[in-house]
Structure formats: C-alpha cells, structure tokens
Amino acid sequence: MSNAHASPALPEPGELDPVAMANRRAKGKRPQFLDDPAVERAMSIAMAVAGELSVARERIDTLERLLVAKGVIAADDIERYEPTPEVQAARNEWGRAYIARVLRMIDQDVQAMQADPEPALEQIADDLGRTDAAARG
C-alpha cells in the first residue's frame, strides 16, 4: 500500500474550466418547493444576484475606507457630499433607466394591458403562412 498510486486517466487541474466546475450540480433529484417551477428558478437567480450585490457593496465599502485611510478623502466626506444640480439630474436619469431595466417585465405587462388585445403568435404565424390556394379554398 502506498499513497502515490496513479489515478486512472484524470485530467490535470489546468485542463478543467473552473467556471464549469463551480457550477456542477450535485447528484440527486432536486426537490421543488414552490408550486411553479419558473418561480423556483427566478428565486434562485434573484438570490444569486442579491449575493453579488452584497459583494459589490462590500467592495465599495473597502474602497471608501482605503480612501479615508490614505487621506484621499475624510471619513464624513461621502455623507456630507452635496451633489450639484447637474450631478443630481444625471443621477436621476441613471436611476430612471436603472429601475426601468429592472422592472422591464412589469412595464411591458402594463403596456400590453393598454394596447388592443393581441392574437397569439401561432395565429399570426398561421395567417402569414397561408397560401393563396388555401385562402381561396
């Protein structure tokens, strides 16, 4: 018995894609908790995004603290910062676009409710696919 026995034909670490390896699923059927599988997935995506937002927020916090520690800004500079009207307007515009991006789906639901009732795409596909012969028949 030794600890140096060769593993059978396995790749070297450099041959693996870390992104793909990180995302590998665990063997075993995944339970579904919510009634709608689509909602189940949306929640997983939302929680991952929430995590990444927390990571980004922490990075900004580190940045601010380093700037203070290195004397680039004072500790209360950020809290005391007063945007000029131009800056405020630019922020408002960015914020408007940001919220629109995030809530696009709801916006588009409202637009659909305000428009005339629309036929299903299948129906339009059938319409557009109809030949003169069929139309005459």
């Binding site: 600890n3 693996l16 908790f33």
Partner: protein, 411 residues
C-alpha cells in the same frame, strides 16, 4: 440585538487551505449572514405557520393531531412560508457549494502541489485503491456537495476536501470554531471531565473525512496514535496534508471501509465517529458497529456524536430535523434517527446496560466570539446563539458504550 457573526476572514488556515480574494470572502460572508437571517428571522415563521394555520387545518380535516413527522411534512409542503424558507435554505446550500468550488478550482494546481509536498512518501497517508465506495456514498452527492467526498476530477485530487473545509465555516456560521473542530473538542472536553487522567494509547476515528474532529484527539493525547479512516481518497489526502501543516504528527490517515476494518481485534482504546451514522445505511450500521466492538480493546470506550433520535420527540420537531433527508441529500438521516441505538450496540456485542447517551456542546472559540460582558450576556454555548435551529446548532447527542474488561461468558 444583532447576533455575533464572525467573518470568513477569521477562518483557520494552513498550507492546503484555499486563498480567497476580497470578493470571495464577501461572498462567503453574505452566505453566513443569509444563513443566520434564515434561522433567526424566517425559520420562526415556519413554526408559527404550523401552529396557526397548518396544524389547525389538519386537525379540522382529520379530527386528530398528526401522528408522525411524515404527516406533518405532507401537510407543511403546501404552506407558502415553509416553501419559501425551504427554497431559500436549499439555495444557500447550493450557493455555498458554488462559492467553495469556484474558489478551489481556480487554484487547484497550487493547492494540489502544496498537498503533494506534504503527502509524498509519507507513511502516515495510506491509500488503498481497492476500496470501493459503498452504495450509501454513491447514491446521491451527500449534502449537495457535487462529487461528494470521493469524486475525483484530477489525479491526486484534494478538491473535495478543500471545498468541504472552506465551506464548513459558512454553513455553521463559525459556531464550530476557526478550524471547524468543535465536535472533536467537545469529545476531548467530555473525556477530560468524565475520564480524568485516562490516556488512551490507540484511537480510531471512522468516517473522518478531512480529520477535523480527529485532530483534537491527536492534540489532546500527544503520546497516542490516532488512526483516521474513510472510504474517500480525496478527503484523506487533504486531511493528511492539513494535519501535517498544522503540526499534528501522531495521526495516520488510512483508506478503509468501516464495514471491514483492516485492523486486528482489540487494538484500540477509543473508537469515535462524528456526524457519521446518518451518512451510512441500515444494512451498514450493524456491520460497522460489530467492527467497532471487534477492534476495541477490553475496557475500551466507543463514543459517537450524532443528532438526537426521534423516539418520543414532538412530530413537528422531528419533521424539522428531518429536512435534510429530503432537501439536502441526506437520504439515510430519517431512518438513522429511528434506529434503536441501544439495540445496535447490544447486537454488536456490547453487554446490556452498557449503552449510554449524553449531550455535548461545542466549546465557544473565543477568537471568533469574544467573551460576553455585562448583564444578560449571551450564554457560553453555540457562539452566543440560543435560537432553536433543529440540528444546525453545535449541540450533539453523544452515545456509546464501554467494552467490559473481560468477556462475560453467558451462564
């Protein structure tokens, strides 16, 4: 009042522990916070939902209270709050695996080189390629850990060990200490208090994974030889390198199956397991316990950390403790906690009346949770957390038996 929450920054490191970037640490800390939030803010709602709507509806429909945890589960599965809590909890498990694996696989080459340097030609790492993974290890990936303990993706793989080590601190929110060894520390503490002066010479730990609970025994009894066995090679490689790096030399990591231990009769004074039995099977349990009895020396002690058995437990509490069975790939958890452990020990050869059971608690790591001060300070246990968490708190039921000094011959 906010709960003390250690940062992953404070985790105990060693030569094979993965390096983490600023954002990788922030990712782990987010998951720790999320786990704490779920157990403290969302989980109480599950009990509330049971008491205020699910149980009354069940009783109205059946004219009686639910008979067991399975009836509670079937009723609760339709409750929105339970669904949301479960879905969130499952996600934290999956996200923790993703975060750990992304950390490990991006630096696997270096980690493996570090492990190789500590493992190469070491007589204290004994791998046996003939060992097969038991069915109960192959059926699903235990606690949603892709590849489980044994899956190898590269030659001389240690990735499963590194991922497990890095993530233990996250899922336990540091409550097991910087080196996640609270279970082993609790056993040592118990031995010091209940067997003062006892110096076991040979100690066996079965199902050791990365050896995090065997190391405290090796450290507490430096003159003893500790043998840590597992069926999975990657965690043994990692555990061996981890122990060497931490300066623990009196421990051997050996690939072996608990159902057929490669040791002579009566060679060990102490045989331990930590959170092990629920990852086996009903067929394996008596075989492993028979092996425990066989390798124990006369007068030797066996001691096992687990979660409490369900017998006599309120069906709702048993249902909550059962969650991992169905939702976190711990398929034997439910039946293991039904087992008659006293009968298991008797069946293995321990005499009637030798079974004992006690409760153990992880000693708080003061490097992570500074001593509470002032009136109403949090208790010494569980990192100052008093919240019921149905098996996630660092509290165990320990069971075991002492082998008689001399075999009694039946009259």
């Amino acid at each position: 009042m906010s709960t003390p929450q250690p940062s992953w920054r404070q985790v105990g490191r060693h030569a094979v522990f993965p390096e983490a970037s600023h954002d990788e640490i922030a990712r782990f800390d987010f998951l720790t916070r999320l786990n704490l939030h779920l157990s403290q803010n969302v989980l109480p709602g599950v009990k509330k939902a049971w008491e205020t709507r699910v149980k009354p509806a069940f009783e109205a429909e059946h004219g009686r209270a639910p008979a067991d945890r399975h009836e509670v589960r079937r009723a609760m599965q339709a409750d929105l709050h339970y669904q949301l809590w479960s879905a969130l909890r499952r996600n934290t498990m999956e996200m923790r695996q993703q975060a750990g694996r992304s950390l490990v696989f991006r630096q696997l080459e270096q980690l493996r080189a570090n492990a190789d340097a500590l493992n190469e030609h070491a007589p204290t790492l004994q791998l046996d390629p003939a060992i097969e993974q038991p069915r109960y290890q192959r059926a699903v990936d235990i606690h949603c850990m892709p590849g489980s303990y044994h899956g190898e993706t590269v030659a001389r793989d240690i990735a499963p060990g590194a991922n497990y080590d890095a993530g233990l601190f996250v899922t336990t929110a540091g409550a097991l200490g910087r080196y996640s060894d609270g279970g082993g520390q609790a056993v040592v503490d118990w031995l010091h208090r209940h067997r003062p002066g006892w110096r076991p010479q040979r100690i066996l730990d079965i199902g050791c994974t990365i050896g995090h609970n065997a190391l405290p025994l090796a450290q507490a009894f430096p003159e003893a030889e500790v043998v840590a066995v597992d069926t999975a090679a990657p965690v043994l490689r990692y555990g061996h390198a981890r122990a060497r790096s931490l300066g623990v030399a009196n421990i051997v990591f050996r690939q072996a199956d608990g159902e057929a231990l490669p040791f002579d009769d009566g060679g060990f004074d102490l045989v331990t397991t930590a959170m092990f039995w629920h990852e086996t099977s009903n067929r394996a349990m008596p075989r492993i316990m028979a092996e425990v009895h066989r390798v124990l020396a006369p007068g030797g002690l066996t001691l096992h950390l687990e979660q409490p058995q369900y017998a006599g437990m309120d069906p709702f509490e048993a249902f909550m403790r059962d969650w991992d069975t169905y939702n976190n790939n711990e398929p034997f958890w439910t039946r293991m906690h039904e087992a008659d452990l006293d009968a298991l020990l008797r069946g293995a050869g321990f005499p009637a009346g030798s079974y004992f059971e006690t409760t153990m608690q992880a000693k708080v790591d003061r490097a992570l949770f500074p001593a509470p001060t002032g009136q109403g300070a949090a208790s010494d246990a569980g990192g100052g957390r008093a919240q019921e968490d149905y098996g996630r708190s660092p509290v165990w039921t320990a069971f075991g038996a002492q082998k008689p000094q001399r075999e009694e011959t039946p009259a």
